[in-house]
Symmetry: C2
Subunit: 226 residues, 2 copies
């Protein structure tokens, strides 16, 4: 237990922004009041430049009061799947400390709150993959683990790619691979690519290619290149 929370959590701005753009699905009855949790008070138990963890007493919609820990990352997770004209994609490989494994992913990085996530993801595409793109389309917006964290992600597809000089992050040793889009889909199915942003964005890219939501020549290359 350490200092009480005197100000809104550092992701307060991002939460407010997000609420503005959170539509309700068509099947939710607008006349029915939504159940709510009540926060009885919290304190910061861990704080770093990347995240804080707060512990709360909170009353559930059922009336039951519990201790609730919330992990609050200080950035928006961003990612981009770079789609080459020939139906291949660029992926990056790196050692991940938390799980102690090696992970192949699309270029990703955290955009600190206050930075436009689109600026952040363009920087990651250059730093990690050595690419810039003239065409972008938003692919997915997700809440990554909504029972214990406030972490959000926004991911794009990008095409009309060209190489740019890279400037790697000082804690990253990055490998780069360029593989057919359908090989990425197959390796996700085998469990060889497991990063949630990459998994969701790759299947979303398949959906967009199949449903006419990407240029026809690009969708054709993605779905037929093996």
């Amino acid at each position: 237990m350490s200092e009480p929370i005197e100000n809104p959590p550092s992701d307060g701005l991002a939460e407010a922004d997000a609420r503005e753009v959170e539509p309700a699905p068509s099947w939710q009855d607008p006349a029915t009041p939504l159940p709510q949790w009540t926060d009885l008070g919290g304190e910061v138990v861990h704080d770093s430049p990347w995240m804080s963890l707060t512990r709360h007493r909170a009353t559930a919609p059922t009336g039951r009061t519990v201790d609730y820990g919330v992990v609050r990352p200080k950035s928006m997770a961003t990612g981009v799947l770079p789609l080459h004209d020939d139906g291949t994609v660029t992926l990056v490989g790196q050692a991940r400390f938390a799980l102690g494994n090696y992970s192949w992913e699309m270029p990703e990085g955290g955009a600190p709150f206050g930075e436009d996530p689109f600026d952040g993801v363009r920087r990651e595409l250059a730093e990690e993959a050595g690419l810039e793109a003239r065409s972008w389309r938003e692919a997915v917006r997700m809440e990554l683990s909504n029972s214990i964290t406030t972490e959000r992600a926004v991911c794009w597809l990008a095409w009309d790619l060209r190489p740019v000089a890279t400037a790697p992050d000082p804690t990253e040793v990055i490998a780069v691979a360029r593989v057919p889009f359908m090989s990425l889909i197959a390796e996700i199915g085998r469990g060889a690519v497991r990063d949630s942003l990459t998994v969701a964005t790759a299947y979303r890219a398949y959906h967009m290619a199949r449903e006419g939501l990407l240029p026809g020549w690009l969708a054709h290359a993605m779905l037929t290149r093996v």
Copy 2:
């Protein structure tokens, strides 16, 4: 700062299990040594029945040493998208404390380490959606946020459904909706369904329906019912 870690983290078993089933993708050269992080030592700074947070000194593959906090949930995230014969799916709505919002999702829950995740997800399907299923297929396995957590998820598709009696969780007030599968896809595209497990599993279900990986009658119903 509190007690040092004297034993492996409580998710050590799950991590060992996972490594056994983590294949490498076809493009990874088996002859090239993989870069690795070195853990110089850690301590538990937060511990609850649901997760711990450990703080480490760790040396990156580049040689740079940093402080690294790792969130370690004590369960495997599980979820199931219940596919009805008529091309509809059952979703559940609930208030989420961490983000302070209301979330529509497929039935989900944490399977504590030591419990078979498949037993856990069958329980959630009954408790949250009042359903049981005779046919199951694994859809996605993901690492939810691999730069700060060890959290993993495994999600299924289930069909041949029938109703069972429900026994709700004491902190959950659950709403249930049955909607066309393609309405779920559309609401994800609008940002009205944002849970990462649901997003990834829904697009994966679309991929499986399109690629002949589900029974033809079910795929037809999913893709045509509006």
